[in-house]
Amino acid sequence: DLCTHIHTDNPHSETFTELCLLDVLAASQNNSNSGWETKAVEFFQDQLKERDTHTLVPSLNDVPLHYLKPNSLVKFRCLIQDMFDPEFYMGVYETVDPSTKTKMLRCGKYKDVTECGVDFNSRNTVTAERQTFYCVPIPGENPWVKEISSSCLTEARVVPSTSYAPSRQKRSYEEDDDMDTQPQKQREPHAGMKIPSEHHGNGDCKRQETEAPSSQTASASHLDLNFPLPGEKGPSCLVKVYEDWDRFKLNDTLEVYGILSVSPALSALADEKDASSSLLDPAESMETAEEQRVHSPPASLVPRLHMLHAKPLPHNNPLLPSAALEDNSAFLSSTLSEMASVREEILSYFTHVLLGDALAAEYLILHLISNVYSRRDVLPLGKFTLNLSGCPTVASYTERFYQIIQQLVPSSHYLAMSLQNMNQMRLVPKKDYVANRLVSGALQLARNTSLFLDETQLEQGQLDTTGVRNVTALGNLISWQKVDYDFNYHQMEFPCNINVLIASEGRSLLPSDCQIHLQPQVAPSHLEESLSSIHMHPQASSQLNKFRIYLSMARLLDYSISDEVTKSVEDDFVDMRKDDPQSISAEDLHRMLVVARLLSLSLGQTSLSRDSWLRAKHIEMLRRSRMEQHKCVNGNEP
């Protein structure tokens, strides 16, 4: 059928995945301590390092689960959402053939289920330890990322037309995402091709028709896959880690290469436990049904992935080479030289989007490439939360603005700060001790995710306890780049690296590193017209891709300040203070240094030049004078 189809179509891919697997399987049969295992794993890792080999491995992100062959090598681009307790398993065990009584040693590594006839009293049993991570697809990953990464894959292996990746289905995922973020009337023109009846649970339907057992679909409906963001789709996975699990941290983004295990026996075990009474074994009845469900969900829904190799992802932009930048000097130098010109283009594009406000566009670029690059004790360095005040409240401007950003950054999330949302949403992850898992919240995001807070949605009214807590959490996120996860008896602090952009009418009630008041050059009456022209702009995909590469690249560059420039910055500061001590505080200098850093990086310069410093000072001055001006106009502004 299809699986074999894929493999036979491309001999290379077949040999690779099959070979590895055979290797492991064969080795596990004649288990000896000859270190076969390290050899096999090394073999994988070497293979994966080779150029493009990794594109041959099918990805759980793109290929529906039922098209993947069980016990084959797959990859999964994911975020570690929760870490379960380590588990002990039979690393080596002995089986007895019931008819012949012959004993045989077997290996339990990389497997969930044992062979028949385990001898539990065997002295040869070796108990080993492994760790389980609950992984979800990177939250808020934008449709274009999914599209590009899946198309890379399909190109590489020339999938026949009966392929598993019908573009229609892909499209519908995207629509669902859009659904949550934009009101109905705002549907984009390109979304017009969707079939109206299609977008509800489309993915599920597809799955159901191929996954026969009806009992599982029932349980699937009430199994919460614990995605951080509402309306997310995609497989979640229990990743079994065999080595150095201490090096992984919660919320790390990884590309996991491992052996897929979807043994129906796993779910059968779970079902049976539900059915049989808890009196059976007091030891097992201790685990609540809730916990059972979370920790051993049906494999058809949450497959198990036995990790062979994991690659930490510094970014999830598929347009950038996956290798570290230093190793790819050709790519680096070519992009660096282009950066200044791309910057011009993106600046004019943003100016257009921001209704002709070039200064705000400048700041928007700086914001989008900001990144917490280091922490000094509690102080995160490099964060640049932007408060874009003065956003028009007509014509769903903020939503449209978000859609533009969504097209450019790999992952993003739109959070409407309506009273209802603030009072009801779970932003902060909370430990559920009954099910023994970390219930995710909207602030459990991967590094460099763009979080778009739409404060124009906030109306007057009462915030309840949850609301206050949520607003506090957002404030903490912005000020310290950390989220205090709620463990009921205590809180635990998890550092994060999230780019927060606040769109508001007046100054935001949340703190921010930098506030800029939008000055539209477009008359309010022409707003609608001007806005629609943005979308009508058929941004050529090559142009878009250029922007996407630009924004991701700028963030990855190194940066330094030479001694001379340091000196001149100091002099500048002292001079400015001399004239008017009120004009610039330590906090202002902090911000100016960040602006200078981001400005340099946005121009592709990896060290601060005198010019960039002056330019940073200049735009800061423009921004501040605009704020003064604005204060004069509305005297009631704080």
Binding site: L280, P282, L381, E570, S585, A586, L589
Partner: protein, 794 residues
């Protein structure tokens, strides 16, 4: 019941095996219903489900060729060991008896040993206690066993299941030999604790299975009580013959054939004659302190048996000693392949609550942090350096620039004074914690300093005045959704007992919330009367608060009180009040700029070199807090007295009181804290000097009367400077005169009166001043003010 579907297991009658074997210990048939209820044989043994089923383990002769042969004669010689182990029952018993009889711990500091003669064998005294009290549990500290006999200790750790019953037997023999007449409910059980094997849940690994371990953690869930059958009582439906079957590896095998009438499947279980034991599942989570950053805490299942059930509650921090178990997933005969995963749990033998003492207030730092000798050496070397005080204060929040004195103040707060107990003399506890208030312009990194401190101390809490309610600070009563039980949930102040509570935006706090701080900041307790729960919790927390001025900028023309608008009753409870203002000076600016720029380009390694490691600082503070409690030297006392007298004198010249006993107490605390910084057990005059200096600096900042330029403590203690008070009085008098001069007018216009007064006075009369004067006169019942009219009273 389906658990009886198993093929019947041949039941061995207990009397077929030698009764004196330790492995037979505790079988129900050893229960003799005879009259003399004393002596080993007379006292019933109680089953120990915490040790699992041990009785079936046979002993083997090491030299015998047939592996696994059951030796029927345990006294045959030294060669006999319990199957699978190297434990010889006789030797082990002897060794343990010797340990009980001989072990002394002259340097014991454990409070359980209070009242015992430390030079006499410790455990013999405990046995005596058992004979008096009648509680047949002997807790044995494993560290004692280790120091007495390392081999015995090793066996205890490796084979607890076999060794502990042997210990039980040994102790019972010894006990009834000593106290032949004592009557116990059941035989004494040995409960070892403090096994050194494992401290941290994270380090548990497969090698720990079936070993004795001690881990620390926090209880997060407890189950209902589960009755677990220890012995099934079966009765033949045909001939009424009855038989008992014991639990074996968690199962009870139903006898298929009646031994009396040979009918098959005629036996039925009689529930109310079966023996059950109590069992409870407890989930324990790693303590937050043990966790590496960025990981989620691990949890472990613990089973408590018999009297350990309900010993702990969710939220308790405990040290658990027990046996680590791994059980394969249940084998289902209908299914061929099984999950290859084990279930793990700990059978608890001993609980020790680590935060229990917090409620009783006996001792601080129950969970004493263990320092390696190397670490202690490093810390001591650091302490010996003459500039340790400066080093530490500059290591504090290095990203915040300068503010040296504030950092020094916070450093002293981190160390705290010496705790003194005057409860005998009726004075109650003496506050040892230093409270600090930072006020200043917004954006002067106050919050950052608070965040830093919160991250530094193990029991830190961070709240913002804006978001916190009185309930969030103190405690509230919550109904547990599962048990319907009322649970007291503690708030930030109680949680930071023995730590520091950082309160940001102190000025934004509602008056109601602030009022709870009055009690906390002086008495160090919190009284709660809610939903029928009336109690007083300890809240020995130091408060580090930050407040912004009421106007967005600090007004140098106003006093501290006027600037931050906090009640002076609360302000006087702060030992140090600092202003964080922007110094406007070129040299400072240059240094600041340099500092900030370097922050943005230096690599982290470079920064590390410049400053003390945060971890070292943490350890240094923890060590000093735990082990150093300085006392005042004669010389220091004199210096303090002088300092106090001097402070009083300053004001007396101007007819003001300038120091109160509270200030003296502050000085003492600061001096003690400074001595702690030096790891000195004695407060010397240098400590007093520094305390004086810091105190003066803080006062200079916060209590300077802007009108006179003098430092005036009454600004903080009464909310108003002496000059301001005098001025108010003068205006009031002038106003009174003015009104009297007007003759008999019962009512006057407010504005008119103000204008008249202004016209008459030489100095400017502000509206506030005028209002205050009116209020003063109203207090005298001279007049009342209603709206815009002023009415004279009688």
């Amino acid at each position: 019941m389906s658990c009886f579907d198993q093929p019947p297991i041949l039941h061995v009658q207990p009397n077929e095996v030698d009764m004196s074997s330790p492995l037979m210990y505790g079988t129900p048939s050893s229960r003799v219903e005879g009259t003399p209820r004393s002596g080993v044989r007379g006292t019933p043994a109680r089953q120990r489900p915490d040790l699992g089923s041990v009785r079936k383990a046979p002993q083997v002769d090491l030299h015998s060729d047939t592996d696994g042969a059951v030796a029927s004669e345990p006294n045959a010689g030294q060669r006999l060991v319990i199957w699978g182990t190297d434990v010889n029952v006789g030797t082990c018993k002897e060794k343990f008896q010797r340990f009980l009889q001989r072990f002394t711990d002259p340097n014991s500091t454990e409070d359980e040993n209070a009242g015992l003669d430390l030079n006499e064998p410790l455990y013999m005294q405990k046995l005596e206690e058992i004979s008096v009290v009648g509680d047949p549990v002997l807790n044995v500290n494993c560290r004692h066993v280790q120091s007495f006999d390392a081999e015995l200790y090793r066996q205890l750790i490796c084979y607890p299941q076999e060794v502990i019953p042997t210990f039980d037997m040994a102790v019972n023999e010894l006990f009834f030999e000593r106290f032949p007449d004592s009557i116990l409910e059941y035989q004494i059980q040995v409960r070892p604790y403090n096994a050194l094997k494992t401290r941290n849940m994270r380090s548990l690994n497969p090698e720990d299975i079936d070993q004795l371990i001690t881990i620390s953690g926090m209880v997060i869930r407890t189950s209902q009580l589960i009755p677990e059958m220890q012995e099934g009582f079966f009765q033949c439906q045909v001939c009424a013959y009855s038989t008992r079957v014991e639990v074996d590896r968690g199962r009870i095998a139903e006898p298929a054939v009646c031994r009396n009438c040979n009918n098959t499947h005629s036996l039925a279980l009689v529930h109310n004659r079966s023996v059950f034991s109590d069992k409870q599942m407890i989930k324990v989570q790693e303590s937050p302190e043990d966790m590496p950053a960025g990981q989620t805490p691990h949890t472990t299942v613990v089973y408590a048996h018999n009297d350990l059930v309900d010993k702990v509650q969710p939220g308790d921090r405990v040290n658990i000693t027990g046996i680590y178990r791994a059980v394969p997933m249940r084998v289902n005969p209908r299914q061929n392949n099984v999950k290859s995963v084990y279930k793990t749990h700990i059978d608890a033998i001993h609980f020790r609550k680590t935060d229990e003492k917090r409620l009783h207030g006996l001792d601080e730092e129950a969970e004493q942090k263990l320092f390696t000798e190397d670490r202690v050496q490093t810390l001591k070397e650091l302490a010996a350096k003459p500039d340790v005080y400066e080093r530490l204060s500059s290591a504090l929040a290095p990203s915040i620039y300068e503010h040296e004195d504030i950092k020094k103040g916070i450093l002293l707060q981190l160390f705290g004074g010496t705790r003194k107990d005057f409860s005998q003399t009726g004075r109650g506890n003496f506050r040892a914690e230093v409270n600090i208030l930072l006020c200043g312009d917004p954006g002067t990194s106050k919050s950052q300093l608070l965040q830093y401190v919160y991250n530094l101390v193990p029991r830190g809490q961070y709240t913002s005045g804006k978001g916190s309610s009185a309930v969030g600070l103190t405690a509230y009563v919550m109904k547990d959704p599962e048990t319907r039980q009322l649970v007291l949930q503690t708030g930030a102040l109680v949680l930071s007992d023995n730590g520091i509570c950082c309160i940001d935006e102190f000025d934004k706090m509602s008056d109601n919330t602030r009022s709870v701080l009055h009690e906390v900041m002086e008495q160090q307790t919190l009284s709660i009367a809610k939903a029928g729960i009336i109690c007083q919790l300890n809240a020995r927390t130091a408060v580090l608060a930050a407040a912004n001025p009421v106007e967005s900028q600090w007004n140098p023309k106003k006093t501290t009180i006027e600037n931050i608008q906090l009640p002076h009753t609360l302000l006087s409870r702060f030992d140090l009040i600092f202003l964080m203002l922007d110094p406007q000076d070129e040299a400072y600016d240059r240094r600041l700029a340099h500092h900030l720029v370097s922050l943005y380009y230096q690599s982290e390694e470079q920064m590390e070199e410049e400053f003390l490691d945060m971890a070292v600082l943490k350890d240094y503070i923890a060590y000093a807090r735990t082990y150093i409690s300085p006392r005042l030297s004669e010389e220091a006392s004199q210096a303090l007295i002088e300092a106090y007298v001097d402070m009083r004198k300053i004001g007396s010249g101007r007819g003001m009181v300038s120091a109160y006993p509270r200030q003296l107490e502050s000085l003492i605390r600061l001096a003690e804290a400074h001595a702690k910084v030096r790891f000195s057990e004695k407060v010397e005059s240098i400590d007093v000097e520094e305390a004086k200096r810091l105190h003066r600096e803080a006062l200079k900042q916060s209590a300077t009367d802007p009108r006179t330029g003098f430092v005036d403590i009454s600004i903080l203690t009464t909310g108003m400077s002496a000059t301001a008070r005098k001025r108010k009085e003068e205006v009031a008098q002038a106003l009174k005169k003015l009104i009297q001069a007007k003759g008999k007018t019962p009512a006057m216009k407010y504005q008119q009166l103000l204008d008249d007064l202004r016209g008459q006075s030489e100095t400017a009369i502000t509206k506030e001043l005028f209002d205050e004067a009116l209020r003063a006169l109203a207090d005298e019942d001279y007049l009342t003010v209603t709206g815009k009219t002023v009415r004279l009273l009688a």
